[in-house]
């Protein structure tokens, strides 16, 4: 490339950069503006979870762009590539530069933990999508953080309940060796002492492993009554396959990581009869009409599937749906009651207080009742459902 065209290219690039830089957001608005920031993993190890979350947020961004509301909704999305350092930077940018009122962050547990100090220091409320209970409990040290979906502790508790119901005494587990598996294992170990069941084998697997046979062999040799697998696709399928191949014939329970269409299509006939802990969205058409979430679930699935394809609505997209809607609702309440929403810090505080005071909010991941001591707001029974795989579908298991 000649140096003249090189220089031209450089100046064009620089010009484009300056034009693309965000303008100050203090332009005179006729309506008050709600600014929501979202930091989700679109690339990196957690991309398969973060992408549906992002899709839901993006869909809402579109819908709110031409919704008829007394205020405008602006959503800013950043990709943290599953890296806590990038998450912290992105949240800082949202809080300090984009001046958002509320942050939706993050997809993974370490990212959510890393950004806590930044959120606390600025008083910005946040709704996290990570699985671990530790990112949102205890509420006293997580003043700003809320969660609008089930924590791993709730899921593991529900799973252990089922284990008890089935009368199994010896349980073997396979946990992912990432933060999802780690926090799930910690939850299991804290809940287990109060259970009659006994842990006979604990094995670790990686999401992208190519061989699960050694761990499966170890599990089979421990002679368990039931096996629990806590990882994402494709590992949850391959691990189950490996278990069957080494000769384990007993029941298998899968975690929420397997609650997706991919699990079914990868597993085929091999996953028939597996028990899977799911979020309500996957069973929305099997819920009775009296269920308070049914209407909202049906609407969410209809909208999401319309844009992204039939059967695409899953646990993670549902997790991305509630935070935005909740924020919009609280902000709407604030505007309606005539509160002044032009002061950034006051609005952040107001949003936080409003979320904390919310009772009986019907979302697509559960019915939420927040309080100063409970920032998750879910009762175990409602938020985590058990299903079994039958004829290639998730079928609700009655309680």
């Amino acid at each position: 490339m000649s140096s003249r065209s090189g220089r031209f290219l450089m100046s064009a690039l620089l010009a484009a950069t300056f034009l693309a830089l965000p303008r100050p957001l203090y332009a005179q608005q006729s309506k008050p503006e709600l600014r929501i920031g979202a930091v989700l993993a679109a690339s990196g190890g957690a991309a398969s979870i973060g992408t549906p979350e992002r899709n839901a947020v993006a869909l809402l961004q579109e819908r709110y762009a031409d919704a008829d509301l007394p205020f405008t909704v602006k959503i800013v999305l950043y990709d943290d590539a599953s890296d806590p350092t990038k998450s912290t930077s992105a949240v800082r940018r949202l809080v300090q530069e984009d001046k958002v009122h509320i942050v939706i962050c993050c997809t993974t547990t370490p990212s959510s933990a890393a950004v806590l100090e930044t959120l606390t220091a600025s008083g910005t409320p946040a709704i996290t999508l990570a699985a671990a209970a530790s990112v949102v409990e205890p509420a006293s040290s997580h003043h700003e953080v809320f969660k609008t979906s089930a924590t791993d502790r709730l899921m593991v508790a529900r799973m252990l309940e089922e284990v008890g119901t089935l009368g199994a005494k010896r349980i073997a587990v396979l946990f992912a060796d990432d933060s999802y598996g780690d926090s799930g294992l910690a939850a299991l170990q804290s809940l287990l002492p109060s259970q009659p069941a006994q842990l006979v084998a604990t094995e670790r697997v990686a999401r992208n492993d190519t061989n699960f046979t050694p761990q499966a062999l170890r599990v089979r040799q421990a002679n368990p009554d039931i096996v629990y697998i806590h990882t994402y696709t494709p590992a949850c399928d391959l691990a189950q396959e490996a278990l069957r191949r080494v000769g384990y014939t007993g029941p298998i329970i899968q975690s929420q990581g397997a609650a997706s269409a991919a699990f079914l299509s990868l597993g085929g006939r091999g996953v028939e009869g597996t028990i899977v802990t799911v979020a309500p969205v996957l069973l929305h058409d099997q819920l009775p009409a009296s269920d308070p979430m049914k209407a909202k679930l049906d609407e969410f699935v209809r909208l999401y599937d319309a844009k992204f394809g039939a059967g695409k609505a899953d646990t993670y997209s549902a997790m991305g749906w509630d935070p935005v809607n909740l924020a919009v609702k609280i902000f709407g309440d604030m505007v309606q009651t005539g509160k002044d929403v032009s002061d950034l810090e006051a609005t952040r505080r107001g949003l936080r207080d409003g979320i904390e005071a919310t009772k009986n909010y019907v979302g697509v991941s559960g019915v939420f009742n927040f309080s100063p001591t409970d920032h998750v707001g879910l009762l175990p029974k409602g938020a985590v459902l058990l299903s079994t795989v039958k004829d290639g579908r998730f079928v609700l298991l009655p309680n």
Binding site: S43, G45, A47, S48, T51, D177, E203, R204, V205, A206, N208, D209, T210, N211, T213, P214, Q215, L217, R218, Q221, T233, P234, D237, L238, R245, V246, S260, A262, S265, L266, G268
Partner: protein
């Protein structure tokens, strides 16, 4: 004892997953002196393209090949005005290859769907990406330092993997095995797919040996990597040699990806995971000999099996730590430090 036998056999068959990629690493290294960090991505492309074709979709790889070909042709476009004949001569092979790619995809999707046709089309498509990437990332600076070329291959890996994530998404896809079922030996289930991989790897090794040792073309490729100037003086175009090497490497990796996908599912991250362990296995032979590369991946598979059984949390750490003494042993045989001359 049963368990040890079980783990040993299991390790050997799981090592097979890395075999073809390890061979392609050795191939690219011996033919171009480039340690290609992006080699695993060809395996991923092979798996994903096959998954797309078997699902009845137009594989995004076709778009990559066409766009890449256009980029390669870009420097010659200026000739369109000054010397149309030169442009036509330069563009002709690209047009022919593009037509071939389009025809194959059409046939696979509409005329003759099925595993065999899909695999053939995948092989052609991914093989074409090899020379394209060579043309765009290695050829501009053939004489660059080895470390620079390694980092350039890191950049290529980012681009290819990133594009795959955008084009296919993060969800894993199932790929039906060409041969279902398997055989049970000593209590261990060995799938026919794994056996097929080992057979193909063995044949590939023989074929590569024959090509590089016995044919003139193969020797020319080796010559071009040892001394570019010398090869030029003998009438060998280093650029063409490099392009052919990359094509061969891409094809071999793609074959590996197609055979491996039924065992581990097709997802955009397998390039990295399989690539790393294949690297370790290929190092066993110093990245220069094929049989030792195969032995290396077998060793890696067995080590992996045993350490996953013994301490599944630390299995990767154990495998990577054991790599170093093995390398010390292999390197020691390569001769002591000698003085001048």
């Amino acid at each position: 004892m049963d368990t040890y036998l079980f783990l040993g056999i299991d390790g050997l068959t799981s090592g097979a997953i890395y075999a073809l990629l390890a061979l392609s690493l050795v191939l690219v290294q011996t033919a171009t002196r480039v340690v290609n960090i992006a080699q695993g991505e060809y395996l991923m492309l092979g798996a994903m393209t096959l998954a797309s074709l078997l699902d009845g979709d137009v594989p995004p790889t076709l778009g990559l090949v066409l766009a890449g070909g256009l980029l390669c042709l870009a420097p010659d476009i200026a000739a369109l005005w000054t010397s149309p004949r030169r442009f036509v001569r330069a563009a002709l092979p690209y047009c022919l290859l593009a037509a071939l790619a389009l025809t194959l995809v059409y046939i696979t999707l509409h005329v003759l769907p099925g595993t065999v046709m899909s695999m053939a089309t995948t092989l052609v498509l991914v093989t074409l990406t090899g020379p394209i990437i060579y043309r765009l990332s290695v050829r501009p600076k053939l004489d660059a330092d080895a470390v620079v070329l390694v980092i350039v291959s890191v950049g290529v890996q980012m681009v290819v993997h990133g594009l795959a994530l955008i084009l296919w998404g993060a969800e894993p896809r199932p790929v039906a095995a060409a041969v279902q079922g398997g055989v049970v030996g000593a209590g261990v289930f060995v799938s026919w797919q794994a056996v097929a991989i080992l057979v193909v790897a063995g044949l590939a090794t023989l074929g590569l040996y024959a090509f590089f040792e016995l044919t003139l073309a193969g020797k020319a490729l080796r010559a071009a990597s040892v001394s570019r100037r010398g090869a030029q003086l003998c009438g060998i175009a280093p650029e063409r040699a490099g392009a052919i090497s990359f094509a061969l490497g891409a094809g071999l990796s793609a074959l590996g990806g197609m055979l491996v996908a039924p065992l581990v599912t097709a997802n955009v991250d397998i390039g990295f995971v399989v690539g790393l362990k294949a690297f370790v296995g290929a190092t066993f032979g110093g990245l220069v000999t094929y049989p030792l590369a195969l032995a290396g991946v077998a060793l890696v598979g067995v080590l992996d099996s045993f350490s996953a059984y013994a301490a599944s949390g630390y299995r990767d750490a154990i495998v990577f730590m054991l790599v170093i003494p093995i390398m010390l042993w292999r390197s020691g045989r390569a001769g002591q430090w000698e003085g001048d001359r």
